[in-house]
Every structure is written in C-alpha cells, then in structure tokens.
C-alpha cells in the first residue's frame, strides 16, 4: 500500500468521522436544514467510498461507479437545494438543474457503454461540459450562501459565510478531481496528487459545513460569548440611574442584530400584540423576574429561521443579563424616589411639629401669664373684677387648647383610618339649622347676618361628624368676615344621589394660590401668616376635608380676594356601600380559620392577637349579619361569638347558624360579658366563656375543635363508640377511603379504655350505649386528663332537645342526628380540617 493511498484512507476516515457527527446531530435535532446537510455529506461520502471499495473488495469496485457517478454529478444540485432552505431559490431553477443532472448522469453511462476513448474529443467535450456545470451550479450555491450571510448579522452571518466557503471548496475539490482524471493517467503520480488534494479539499469543505450547520458545543458557546461580552460591555456603559427603557433598547437592538428578527420588543406587562406578519413566527421569552412577572421579550422571526435554537439560547442569555441590570437600575431608581419621599415626609413632620409647638404655646402664653399674675404675692392683691377677668382669660385659653388637642386627635384618627363613622339617616337641614343656632351669638357679636336656604333632605351619614363639618365651615366664615358682613348657608339636592352644603361669606377672600393649601394642617392662608390671631386651630379645614372624604364626599372652595369665599361640600345621599361586606376577606389557607363576631374593636383585636399567636387564621366580623354571611361563605373551623352586637344579638346569630345546614356543623363558642351559659349551650354553642377571658382556656378549647396541624403529619384516628357494630362499618366505609383510620368500641367501658390507649384524634360517641349513658361518658372523657383534649362528636337517633343539649355541657364538639345528612356534614368537616392528603 503506497503512502498516498494510506493518506487518502486516513483523510476519508476523518471525513467519515465528521459525517458521523453531523448524522448524530441530525438524529438528535431533526430539521429540514440538518437533513439537507446530511444529504450533502452523504453524497460526498458516496464519492469517497468508491476507492475504498476498490481496495477492500475489488469485485465490487466495478459497481462502485454506479453509485459514485450519480452522486458526484448530483452534488451541486444537492448543495443548491440546501441553499433553498436559507434563501429563496426559484423552483424553476431547481427543476432545470435537476433535469441537467439527470441528462449528464445518463450521458456518462451511455458514453461508458459505447466505450468512448478517454482522449477522444467527445470525451473531452463532455468532461468540460461537466466541469462548466459544476462551476456554475456550485458557484451559484456559494454565492447564494454569501448573499444570505449579507442579510444577517452576528453568528448567523459568520456561519453562512463559512457555508459559502465550504461550497467553494467542494467546487474546487470537484475541479481538482476531474482535472486530475483528465490530465493524468490512472496510477500516475499526478493522479495520486489530485486524489489526495481532492480529499483534503473535501475534508475542509466538510469541516466548513459542520461549523456552519452543526457546530460543536464549544464553538457555539464561543460565538455566543463574543456577543454576550459585547452586550455586557454596552450594559456597563449605561450610566447608573438611567431609566430601564435604555436597557430594553440595548437588549432589543442586540437581539435583533444577532438573530435577524424582524421585530424585537420588550413588554413589561401583558398586552396584546399584533399578529405576526406573513412568513414570520412569533417567539416570546418570558422574564424570570419578580419585578416584571408578566414581562417578556417578543420577536418575530422568519418562519425558515436558520439557527433558531442557537439564537434562542443566546437571546435567553441576553435577556437574563438585561433583566439583572434592569432590576438593579429599577431598584436604584426606586430607592432614590423612596429616599425623596421619606425626606419629604420627614420635612412635613418637622413642619407639623413646629406649627404644633407654635399653636400650643399661644394659648399657654395667656394661661401661664395670667395665672402667674394671680399667684403673685403682692402687697396689694388684685380686686375681684381683675381676678374674674384673668380667670376668664385662662379659661378661654384652656378651652382653645382643648379644641386644639381634640382636632389633632381627630385628625390623627382619620389619617390612621380609625375614624369610626356611625351612619344613620337624619334630616340634614334640621342639623344645619341647629348647628347655626349654636354659633349665632358669635355672628350677632360681629353684627353679621346669617341667611339660610335649606332644602329638606334626609341623608345617611354620621350626624356628629356632619355637625363638625358644618361648625368648622360656618365658624370660619364668621371669623374671616368683617363686622356687618353676610353669611349664606345652603343645603340642596345635587343630582339623583348627592347633596350639596354651601357656606358663603363676603369676607376678605383667599388668594388662588392658597386654595389647595388651606385644606392642609396648620394652614389658614396668607402665606407666612399662621393662626395666632384667630380662635381657630388651623386644623379645621384639614379635618373637614378628611371627614368629608371618609363619608365618600368631596369639598371645594371658590374665592376671590376682597369679595368673599364659598365652601361647598358634596355628600352622597346614602352611605357608601362597602362592596365586600357580604364576602369575607381572604385568609391564609392551610391554617385553621376562626371567625370572631365581635363589635368592640378592642376586644376583637385582643382575640385576634391570641388566635394569631396560636397559628389560627382570623376573620373578624363586626356585626351579627356579617358574621352569619361570612360563616356561610368561609366555613370557618370555629366561631367565637359575642352576644351584645349592634344589629342582631348573639343569641339570634347562634340560632341562625344552627338552623342553616351550611353552617350547622361549625362549632360556636360564646365569648361575652353576658353570663348565661345554660342558654348558650341550649342553643347549640359548644362552649361558653365569660369576659374577661384568659388566653389559655380559650386556646385549649379551640385546640379540641381543630386539629389541622396533627392531621398534616400523620394518620388521623377516629374512635367509634357505638353498641351497633354496623355503625363502625358505616363510618369506616365513609372515612377510610380518605385516609382516616377508624377503630371501634362496642360499649362505654371499652370506649373509655381505647380512648386512653389509642388516643384517637376524634371520638364519635353514640348517645345511648349498652352499659352507660353517652352524656355521662362524654363528661367522664372530658374530665380525665388522658382524654380531655380529644374532640367528641355525639351521634343521636334524632335531633337533641334543648334540655338534652344543656346536658352536653360543653363536653362534645358537635351533634350528629342519625339518618340525616349530618354524617356527610361531619365528613366534610373532617376533610376540611385537613385530609391526610
């Protein structure tokens, strides 16, 4: 075997290795482009396989040309076909080339059959024709790749250029092989050189295609890294504190260039996007970011996108980088804004304190000064009239101080959202008339006239607060209007469901610049001038606005300096309906829920704190009706019920809860100052606490009702104490499929025994047992330390009468009447508390 033969074979082996890589890549990721690449490789492989066949199996060599010749002639066609996946190639061109291909192949066989001499003119003419065909078609394919490369950018561009180069090499390889065949005699050194050179070229072309269409992982990563590094560099160049839009802009630009997408867009929030244009496909890369949970990058890629997975890989990396940078930017911007807000809030607080200090000192000045004068030890004590006048000054200043403190408290309450409005329907006109009467002396003192124009209107609002609003506005009007001035107060209907209260004066008016400011605390207009010269506290209008807001209304002012002012208050005729009153607020799932029905906010809050601390989710209803609605809707694990409630009393709530099949099975514990345990238990409460209650007994009682935490971690055991053996089977059939374990005791003594030894999570106790009374056993279980914490449900032949209920005496958590749907209710109750699943 000669050296060049060895070389040829080694080169072939390398080529086949590359072919194998491509083949595996195609098998892993099927796709038309990869398939075309494999066919190109296969064709070259067929060309190369002939000499090997000749070497290893000479008899087959004769047939090898049957494979080799069509393969070699089809090669340009196959490459052109590959181009058609990347760039539009007219179908007619492909058809013409295919026809030429068939003609040429047939010609070769015809010529060979006729035994045309290798040196004959026919042979040469044909050979040159073949060469021209190769040069034109493969050259066109190379140009096609190059043109496609020009239209793209980034990695796609260099990969297509590599493909163009590889095609050029194939072209060259064919020329060399053909030229070698034509010019040198077989077996000559020239033929050997041509053969080796041809193989080198074929190998290079193969490597080129490999790089272009199925690049190994490392190479792929390398080209991605280049783009990524450039992107990170550009990201770093964006100055800190820039809007995130700048980052999005850079991202879309980079992605667009790297992938050749027609449209790249960053969407921070979900919104509909136009349908993709014809010939493009829509790809979205969702953001993995808590800040933009719905955000995504969208691109429209050509339907025949070349390197889709690679492009998407790279795009994901870019999006990830951009997100990290954007989150940091957004955080910085947000932090700046927060700092600004905090500084403004701090400044506002300082201003408020300064104004407050000033306001408090003004009345204190008279109080301290006059009282010092009174207390002074002088030789000539002041006469009675002087003392009276001093005392009057002190008293007046004290009242002013009190008013100030009250206003501050009211304002703080409103701002903390703790203003308790107690809306009732009342006649607004009557209230206004009464309020005006109380300040009439002030107006009389200044010889002012107060005109009333009051339409009869009934509104649904908190009368004491509305009185405060009227009083503030009218006393301001009196204060800021000169002696002999005129004040007009009007009440009128405003549309279908609103009412307007207007207070107008012909006082000195308010400059437009102050129209907003006067509604802020400690501002009474006149710029620098604060309030020391008025009896007002500087908080009146701020408070008025807050009170009106709390009623769902609005307040406004029209004023002209020197002419007068008019303040208008719009109030809704009816109290704003709380939209979610019927629906309980959402509570954390996975925790046992306790519904507290309690109107006293302090008591409710206390219960909430106790229950919160013990791991219960708490729903706090403030009226009986709300409590009933919430109980039906939220199905709490237990209800804590106050008796003294504003709308319907606790007794009625209890009866309604027990009458409704939806809520009947929810255990209710009464927590009230009303001490009537007997009545509570008779109405169906499971336990009764008299306020003030302490934390421990309450939680212990609740613990018997809810055992969610236990259920989650292990199997729940239910002990059935029933003389009827079938009962246990029934319960077993019902509960065991859900993972509960059911054990049975046929009589009271055995039941008591098993309760101690097996320590079940729940006991189902029949009211009539062969050896004892169910009520007695319930009491005994309650009083024995080992079993006192186990919830007991009693089963009875029918419903329990009131006196029987009192016998339960808080010893059982529920009653099931046999033969009705109570069994299913209990099942639901158990499952809700947390099935083992």
């Amino acid at each position: 075997m000669t050296f060049d033969t060895l070389l040829s074979i080694s080169l072939d082996l390398v080529f086949f290795a590359v072919f194998a890589v491509t083949l595996v890549d195609w098998l892993r990721n099927r796709g038309p482009v990869r398939r075309a690449v494999v066919i190109v490789f296969g064709t070259i492989a067929l060309v190369l396989i002939a000499p090997i066949l000749r070497l290893v199996a000479p008899p087959l060599a004769a047939f090898s040309s049957v494979i080799t010749i069509p393969a070699i002639i089809s090669l340009p066609l196959v490459i052109l076909w590959l181009v058609s996946y990347i760039r539009r190639v007219p179908r007619s061109v492909l058809l013409v080339v295919a026809a030429v291909d068939v003609v040429l192949t047939a010609s070769v066989f015809v010529l060979a059959a006729q035994g045309v001499q290798t040196r004959s003119s026919t042979y040469l003419a044909f050979a040159f024709g073949l060469l021209a065909y190769f040069l034109i078609v493969a050259g066109a394919a190379a140009i096609g790749f190059a043109l496609a490369a020009r239209e793209r950018a980034g990695a796609s561009r260099s990969r297509l250029l590599t493909a163009a180069l590889a095609t050029g090499l194939v072209d060259l390889c064919i020329v060399v092989l053909l030229a070698g065949g034509l010019t040198s005699a077989p077996g000559s050194s020239g033929a050997a050189v041509a053969s080796v050179l041809g193989r080198v070229l074929a190998l290079l072309a193969a490597v080129g295609y490999l790089v272009a269409f199925a690049p190994p992982r490392g190479l792929r990563r390398f080209s991605q890294q280049a783009t990524l590094y450039a992107f990170i560099r550009d990201l770093t160049a964006i100055p800190s504190g820039s809007p995130v839009e700048q980052i999005w802009e850079l991202l879309t630009r980079t992605v667009g260039r790297a992938s050749g997408a027609q449209r790249v867009e960053v969407l921070e929030h979900t919104r509909t996007v136009p349908p993709p244009e014809r010939g493009t496909r829509h790809v979205a890369i969702p953001f993995e970011s808590q800040r933009w949970p719905d955000g995504r990058l969208e691109m429209d890629l050509p339907v025949n996108a070349l390197f889709l997975e690679d492009d998407l890989d790279l795009t994901r990396l870019l999006v990830d980088r951009a997100l990290r940078a954007a989150e940091r930017e957004a955080f910085l911007v947000e932090r700046e804004r927060l700092i600004g807000d905090l500084q403004a809030a701090s400044a506002a607080k300082s201003d408020f304190l300064a104004a407050m200090s000033h306001e408090l000192r003004t009345p204190l000045n008279a109080i301290i000064g006059f009282s010092e004068l009174l207390a002074e030890d002088t030789e000539a004590p002041p006469d009675h009239a002087t003392v009276t006048s001093y005392a009057e000054h002190i008293h007046g200043s004290g009242l002013h101080l009190l008013e100030l403190v009250n206003d501050v408290l009211d304002l703080a309450r409103v701002e903390a959202g703790r203003l308790d409005l107690k809306p009732v329907p009342f006649e607004l006109d009557a209230l206004v008339r009464l309020t005006i009467a109380s300040v009439q002396p002030l107006a009389d003192h200044k010889h002012q006239t107060v005109e009333l124009d009051l339409a009869p209107v009934v509104i649904d609002a908190d009368p004491s607060r509305v009185r405060q609003i009227v009083l503030n506005l009218v006393s301001n009007a009196i204060k800021f209007t000169a002696d002999g001035g005129e004040i007009r107060v009007g009440v009128s209907l405003n549309g279908m469901d609103g009412v307007q209260l207007a207070v107008a004066d012909n006082g000195r008016g308010i400059p437009p610049a102050d129209h907003q400011r006067i509604f802020e605390a400690f501002q009474q207009g006149d710029g620098e001038t604060a309030t020391s010269h008025h009896e007002g506290t500087g908080l009146g209008l701020a408070l008025t606005r807050q009170l009106v807001d709390a009623h769902g209304g609005s307040v406004g002012v029209r004023s002209e300096v020197g002419v007068g002012s008019e303040f208008t208050v719009q109030l809704p005729l009816h109290r704003p309906v709380q939209p979610d009153a019927a629906l309980p607020p959402a509570v954390a799932t996975g925790q046992p829920t306790v519904l507290v029905i309690e109107d006293d906010p302090a008591a409710g809050e206390l219960l909430r704190v106790h229950l919160d601390g013990a791991g219960y989710a708490v729903l706090l209803a403030t009226t009986g009706r709300q409590g009933i609605a919430w109980a039906a809707h939220a199905h709490p694990n237990a209800v804590l019920l106050d008796i003294l409630l504003p709308d319907i009393d606790g007794w009625e709530v209890l009866q309604r809860l027990k009458a409704d099949p939806l809520t009947r099975s929810i255990p209710v514990m009464v927590v009230s100052v009303v001490d009537d345990r007997q009545l509570g238990l008779a109405l169906g409460a499971v336990d009764y606490f008299v306020k003030p209650i302490s934390r421990e007994p309450l939680l212990e009682a609740l613990g018997r009702l809810t055992f969610t935490t236990k259920v989650r971690t292990r199997t729940v055991t239910v002990l059935v104490i029933d003389g009827d053996a079938e009962a246990a089977t029934r319960y077993g059939q019902l509960l065991e499929p859900d993972g509960f374990r059911v054990i049975h005791a046929p009589n009271g003594a055995a039941g008591r025994q098993r309760a101690v030894t097996d320590h079940p999570d729940l006991i189902l106790l029949d009211s009539t047992l062969p050896d004892m009374d169910g009520f007695e056993l319930a009491a005994a279980l309650r009083h024995e330390d080992a079993t006192s914490s186990i919830p007991v449900w009693m089963t009875t032949p029918g419903g329990l009468q009131s006196e029987a209920k009192t016998r339960l005496n808080g010893n059982v958590q529920g009653v099931l009447a046999r033969g009705d749907d109570a069994l299913a209710a209990m099942h639901a109750w158990l499952s809700r508390k947390g099935s083992p699943a």
Binding site: H358, T362, D526
Partner: protein, 134 residues
C-alpha cells in the same frame, strides 16, 4: 433720672391675639409703663408714625405679615433707629431664634412668657438705652 423716665416709659406692643395683648397690658401696666397695642403690621406702622416709643414688643405671626419685617423699617428710621426691640414669639425653634437675631432685635422671649423675665427684660433694655442716651 432713670427711674423717673422708666415710670413714664411708653411701650408699643404688636400683638394680634386679644388675650395675649391683655396679658401684656396687665403685666406691664402694673409695672407702671404706658402701653399701646397694635393688632397687626399696618396698625404698628400707623402707631410708630405718630409716636416714638421707648421700646417695641414684637410678635411674629401677624395677620398681615411677619413681625420681623418691621425691624429694618424701625432701624432705618432716624427717629426710631435706636428704639430697643424685644421679640415675644411662640416660634421658638433654633432656626426661628436665629432669624430673629439676624433681623436685629435686641431681645427674644419665647411664649409662653413668664411675668418676671418679661418685666426684667423690659427694664434691662430700657436702662441700657437710657445709659446710652445719657
């Protein structure tokens, strides 16, 4: 001489809050001073145009402006320039006191005022001015 003059001394107080004006009247009247009250800046200007007091007591937050604005007007007048000015104000934050001092008042009493310090401050400023005059 000083004592006689003090007893006859005429004070002008610019104070808008009636109770506080009454308090100044009670305290200073008892000490034998003559006191005239102006309820705002305009009233003070009117009063100072016709009288030359021995001392001005000045409040800051007045219905028609800041009492401090009056200080340069007094200082720039040949007739009133040397009249001592005692600021009596409920604005007692450090920045307020600094503003008062920068404006050129001769003394500062924070509200609420106490009888003794007020009387002493008034006497001290009157004596000082009398000494300078003499």
């Amino acid at each position: 001489m000083t004592a006689e003059r003090s007893e006859a001394a005429l004070l002008v107080a610019v104070e808008d809050e009636p109770r506080n004006a009454a308090l100044l009247e009670a305290i200073l009247g008892r000490s034998g001073y003559r006191l005239r009250i102006a309820p705002d800046l305009a009233g003070a200007r009117e009063l100072l145009a016709e009288t030359t007091p021995d001392l001005v007591l000045l409040d800051r937050h007045l219905p028609d402006g800041d009492g401090l604005d009056l200080i340069p007007e007094i200082r720039n007048s040949d007739r009133l320039g040397a009249v001592p000015i005692l600021l009596v104000s409920a604005s007692v934050l450090p920045r307020d006191v600094q503003a008062a001092m920068d404006a050129g008042c001769d003394g500062f009493l924070p509200k609420p005022v106490h009888v003794k310090p007020l009387v002493e401050a008034v006497r001290r400023l009157l004596d000082r001015n009398a000494a300078v005059d003499a």
